[in-house]
Symmetry: C2
Subunit: 856 residues, 2 copies
């Protein structure tokens, strides 16, 4: 089996076989670009190495030796053995790793292999520059020790005297090597080369590489290639240098060469930051010929690879060499601009453009972020979970009510709480960001914050709240102190970090349009106020897929009417309180319909258990007893009677509406009347979709459908106006999926509530699961949090059953998802594969889901 | 269409058409028994009546008139019109209802139709006994007013003077009739007869009949027949009388005629209890000829119907008539005895014997019950839910610990609590019975009590506990007062009611053997101590299908070691505490294996969340802090960290074992060592089955299987003894059913936990659901409690999926059910239809499930 190919032999071979780096070099060689000659040891050789008990086979060694001798002929240089006398210029080689998918910085490189005592002397004599030859050798010794024997640069520098002579330094490094490894430093370049190849193979399995592959879903089996290439020296004489450049600006995406270079420097010196490199534009002045060549090559490469390229080059005595090219990393903003420009330039297809931007990039684009410069001086005082992306700066407050007060005084605040609950909603909505001590990525705080498009760090267990201050890492932060939080990273900073935010560009809008066209699944948004609806539509949502009505009851001006309703001792009193709530609801819906401009709005009838609306602390009970003029005992007794062992599995959703049909009647009345009034106002027909939560049985939906019908008919008759409203159910308890055929005959649409469906299918609550899920990840029982990405095997199977039964019984049934998963790219693609009509996610997730649906 | 048949014309027609009563009369007529002649108006006529807008069709009326004229010929009597002069003896008729399935007392009867002023006089003259003729007419007037016009006997008696003359009484009744209905009393017997037929048809739809059909699952469509029959008079002259008798003793089942009669009495006088009837044996002396005839007829009838008969007879002037025969109601004990005797007499098949006994009868047989006589004077002071059958008498205690203390002092107690939890187990186990204020039929108290075969009344919301007493219905019951509770009826009595209990008879054992043979599904028992195992096996269980190990940790002598384990701050401390628990567990298992005598025992590894084992009150925390010498703060902080939002969906089952594999290791070690020691002791191979709860993913069971394997191997190696243990999983979260193929490959058996599966499939917890289920029944959304009988549509569908996938992937997989439903007859038959191998229920439910599985 052939494991080794000269660059010139491997044209047309795959990236899988050659690795990314080797592939680039082979391509460039075949394009006639000035690439220092070399050869590739394939990924198959790496596999062979591991299959062979981590030993280089004789076969492989022979092929490498053969390749060297051919390289000697091409380069007219010689790769010397230790002790061999020099007549030709010595061939120095680099050995670099290169996997199929780039794993930058994860694996190892050794430069300048091939130095012997004799060749060192030869180069000194020929160039008359012993500093140059010494630096070549020292760099080799360091890199070899580091890569092969894991003796870090820092370790070496701490042990030897930098001001010593070259001979002293060499001796010292070799002594360190001996004492650390127990072996003499290998003096023969042929041995060094083979050991370097082995070191690269081994680096495939170093912990950070394994971690990187896991994080990026790269297969463990693919292995790395090794490229062996003739060294060229940017630090050789005055007309030499080295640099890195992009074909387009990686920060803004603008179309111009962007890069840096250093004269008289080798390889990584540009990146290392010891000397400050020059901007590439200076090269135009300094070496116009070389610059001209470089621009030409850059253009060629971009046209060849049809993507923005990140290139490394070296100039040796005035001659330009290209050492590497690859698709360049870019900022989120640049990724969209570059994709759209390449599309417009006719270089790529729409699908290519879509593939060129990741969902993570889109997401990070949409939220405010900290200015990079400002972050340099920022002090991280704690780390939590990145629960809702974006960045926020504000004064610390510990109480939701206080947040509202500060907001009214024009102050910006970050709400810090142990955890949040429904009654904190208003305070959360006026805060810049939310920081919680407990709770995971799907805790109340996280879910609500994402819905609001608000930055949130949750589960920040490092901090402890004591009264009006919190402590962490020896810092004490008082109420009113400024903090800054980064919901994309989970960082908490002391003080104010400067913010920046994205402008909704033309490119971005066009990009979303293409995503939508290619996606083929409708993306709706979860929104429950006119502002969110507006944002959602700006973000590309085709309407509102979930309006949670309970959030509307928590406002300061209405919560007490809700409580009156709950505390009511008979149906009459309940209706009285409901009639007060009716006005609020109607106005809420009216404003949402206006904001939705005729796009469909799906409204879920009241879902949470009633106890969520009642006060928790004694003080609050006292206050409410006064406000409502109701005996405290009654409040406590109602509160007591509503207590539940497992609130998640309690008296909520349609069960509540069956017990208190008055609530459903009031809500339907409000929806239909708001539809009529907004239809008249806008002179177009509003189509509200009324959604019943938590249905699990045919007769539940039949019962409520009857109530909805009657209430709607009544309002329409009173107003002499017909509204083409729809009725649907959530599919969120497993039983609903199993009897979906029966339910489907009664309704216009299904909306999977994958949060609850996941909880009940797995049998664990998302709040409680965080405690043991860490043990699950540790023991490799779960690969991911089923509340972040939908469980295709279990929950997905139930969804398949429901879709099949539902569509069979009612072919015109519309089916969607309104759970958190609707904003997760992998899940969105799964939902699309199930043939769903739509997904509905947080407004700021809409572009992410649009993009996700468009990708293969 | 022919709606009317003379008895002699309808031989061989079905019970559906003739109704039960008519069918009996027709059969007896064809057998040549002395049945007063008559005719049947079929159930088809009833349907026709309802289809015809509740009017008798002309066709039907004509057929009735025709039948009367034919009856006149047969009887040589005449059915007179009002005002018609009499020459022949008048024909008096009865009109009785008779549905296909007997609905005793639910529908109506009118006797003595056909009396006119003229015929009354004729009879007075002929007999010289005007009292007799008057009583016939008065009885008719009362019954007609009652049945046709809904004027109750009580209403009539309250309004008229009993000491008045006959003429006065007749006048008064007709006045009442006029004033109540607005119509004159119909005087013409033909009209009366047709109205009586209509009244019987209408009575099919009276509320109590509808309720009875609903309770007994009788179809609404089948309708009732009406039998019209010549009256014979047991109150006519001295040689007349009437009686009721059974072919066998309905209380004991013994084979002898058993009944009562009254001389000079009509129809219901025997039942009404105004005069005390004589035992049938006296008839042998009083009228030996008649008695001899009766015995002969009784024998004929039993042989004909192949079941014990309940007969009504009348003697008119020394001539015996049989008026009715039907399969007789009998006591639970008698039902078994009669079935087994008839089987042994060769009269019926085994399947017939099975069908002759109901599951309810079997169940009520197995528990202590109150003596009937003793109940007569007992005062019911409250009613709750019949949560666990049986009866109990004891002193009231309100605390589980106190129950244990009383038990140690030799006192019998009834434990009264608002609700119970796991820490009450020991107290419950030593109490005679348990009474709880809250909780449904599947509350903790109910489930545990049924498991213990202990009487329990739950959800007795009428009572309120205040400190050391409780109040209800104006009674105050103090600690130490005696109460008696009936777990089959839900009654709570003040004071001591005398108890009786069933002897396990030979008939009963044989009956269970037949059930088992015909059932074809194995019945196992849920048991977690040697005593329960013993009872289970006596009851016919083939082994233990579920041993809940958590109950073993609540004993006074071990709970603190459990707490030490939980509070442990590191794995070493935890192991130390576990090693103490190990000894207890091993002994528990050893004794159970000995008690099971080689029958399989399925042991479930620890299931409940740890917080269930920690103290709740501050006093307890103080005590434990002292006992364990652990800082109170640590206990509180552990307790706090274990709190869960939804304990049902929390850190329990296999999740707990994955977080703390030491627990699983200890339990497996104890199981295997106990298996080895008991195998050696009994000289037979004990086969323990180790069951992992709450599995929902392949990798959960893989992980734990590895731990179980390793622990088991270790003990077996140490002891040089091989145990053929099995590993299985509960299927109790919906996901487990959906990925059953994957799980099945790893295990030997599945056991459906239908309690949890029901909770998670419906998405409601059984504790919380009781609050809204009443609204569901009221609105006809659910017909039954899905925790009592398995939901075949939803949960059943998941089970089907799991069985199909499981058997496909592992054809030798054993599958059973160990949830509460395994003791419910309807559910057991459903499980059998799914092809399950076994069900495992409470020990006292084993015979019920055996019988249920044998029925079609």
């Amino acid at each position: 089996m052939k494991f080794v190919y000269l660059f010139s032999e491997a044209t047309g071979f795959s990236r899988d076989l050659l690795g990314g780096k080797g592939f680039g070099l082979v391509e460039m060689t075949s394009m006639g670009l000035p690439v220092p000659p070399g050869f590739v040891i394939t990924t198959e050789a790496c596999k062979n190495y591991y299959e062979n008990g981590q030993k280089l086979s004789e076969e492989l060694k022979n092929q490498i030796l053969d390749a060297i001798s051919r390289l000697e002929k091409i380069t007219k240089k010689k790769f010397y053995k230790d002790g061999e006398q020099c007549d030709l210029w010595p061939l120095f080689l680099s050995a670099r790793s290169g996997a199929k998918i780039s794993m930058p910085g994860m694996m190892d490189t050794i430069l300048n292999i091939g130095v012997t005592r004799e060749s060192l002397e030869f180069v000194s004599n020929e160039t008359g520059d012993s500093d140059f030859s010494h630096s070549i050798y020292l760099r080799f010794l360091q890199m070899f020790s580091d890569v092969y024997a894991k003796i870090s640069k820092e370790e070496i520098s701490s042990l030897y005297d930098k001001s010593g002579s070259f001979e002293d330094k060499v001796k010292k490094i070799k002594e360190i090597y001996k004492s650390k490894t127990g072996f003499h430093f290998p003096e023969n370049p042929y041995d060094q080369l083979l050991l370097a190849v082995e070191a690269v193979f081994k680096s495939w399995n170093n912990p950070r590489a394994i971690y990187y592959r896991k994080m990026n879903n790269i297969s463990e089996d693919s292995g790395t290639a090794v490229t062996i290439q003739m060294m060229v020296f940017g630090n050789y004489k005055e007309n030499s240098g080295t640099g890195v450049a992009f074909t387009r600006n990686p920060t803004t995406g603008e179309k111009h060469i962007f890069g840096e270079y250093l004269m008289n420097a080798q390889g990584e010196d540009v990146v290392a930051g010891i000397r400050t490199p020059s901007r590439i534009d200076n090269l135009k002045v300094e070496m116009p010929g070389v610059y001209g060549q470089f621009v030409e090559y850059a253009k060629k490469l971009e046209n060849h690879f049809n993507d923005m390229q990140d290139m490394e080059f070296t100039i040796e005595k005035g001659k330009l060499y290209i050492l590497q090219t690859r698709n360049g990393k870019r900022s989120p903003a640049a990724s969209v601009k570059i994709a759209m420009n390449l599309l417009k330039e006719g270089k790529i297809s729409e699908l290519d453009a879509i593939d060129m931007v990741s969902e993570k990039q889109i997401q990070s684009l949409l939220h405010p972020y900290f200015k990079k410069d400002s972050l340099k001086n920022a002090k991280i005082i704690a780390k939590g979970l990145p629960a809702s992306p974006g960045a926020a700066v504000g004064k610390v407050v510990f109480d939701a009510k206080e947040a509202s007060e500060c907001f009214n005084n024009g102050e910006k605040v970050v709400l810090v709480r142990n955890e949040t609950s429904a009654e904190d909603i208003e305070g959360m909505s006026v805060s810049e960001g939310i920081l919680t001590v407990h709770g995971g990525m799907t805790s109340h705080a996280a879910v609500v914050a994402r819905g609001m498009g608000k930055c949130c760090v949750s589960g920040c267990e490092e901090i402890s709240i004591f009264g009006e201050s919190f402590c962490c890492r020896n810092f004490k932060v008082n109420k009113g102190d400024y903090i800054s939080i980064d919901g994309s990273l989970g960082n908490v900073y002391l003080g104010e970090v400067e913010l920046d935010s994205f402008e909704f560009s033309k490119d971005f809008s066009e990009f979303l349009e293409i995503s939508e066209k290619l996606g083929g699944i409708k993306v709706m948004a979860n929104a429950d106020n006119p502002e969110s609806v507006g944002i959602a539509i700006k973000m590309g949502a085709k309407g509102v897929g979930l309006c949670r009505t309970e959030h509307m009851f928590f406002g300061k001006d209405r919560i007490n009417f809700m409580r009156e309703m709950i505390i009511a001792q008979n149906s009459d009193d309940r209706k009285k309180a409901l009639s007060k709530l009716f006005e609020f609801q109607k106005n809420d819906f009216y404003n949402m319909f206006i904001s939705a401009k005729g796009k469909p709005v799906t409204i879920r009838l009241l879902d949470p258990p009633l106890h969520e609306f009642l006060p928790k602390s004694e003080d609050e009970v006292d206050q409410i007893s006064k406000d409502l003029k109701v005996d405290k005992k009654i409040i406590l007794s109602v509160s007591d009677s509503l207590k539940e062992f497992n609130p998640m599995m309690g008296h909520r959703g349609c069960r509540l509406l069956i017990s208190y049909p008055e609530i459903a009647e009031m809500q339907v009345r409000a929806i239909i009347l708001a539809s009529i009034e907004s239809s008249r106002k806008m002179n177009l027909k509003v189509i509200p979709e009324i959604m019943v939560p938590l249905v699990g049985d045919l007769r539940e939906i039949r019962f409520l459908k009857e109530i909805i019908r009657k209430s709607a008919e009544k309002v329409m008759n009173e107003n002499q106006f017909e509204i083409d409203y729809k009725i649907g159910t959530m599919i969120e308890v497993p039983r609903a999926a199993l009897v979906a055929d029966k339910i489907a005959k009664e309704v216009d649409f299904f909306s999977f509530g994958t949060n609850d469906l996941t909880q009940m299918t797995f049998g664990f609550s998302r709040d409680d699961a965080q405690k043991f899920l860490k043990d699950y990840y540790e023991n490799k029982i779960y690969d991911f949090d089923p509340f972040s990405a939908v469980d295709e095997t279990g929950v997905g199977e139930l969804m398949k059953i429901a879709v099949k039964l539902g569509r069979y019984a009612n072919p015109s049934l519309k089916i969607g998802v309104c759970g958190e998963h609707a904003g997760d790219p992998k899940s969105v693609r799964f939902f699309k594969s199930l043939g769903l009509d739509y997904v509905s996610c947080s407004p700021f997730r809409v572009p992410v889901s649009l993009l996700a649906s468009a990708k293969k």
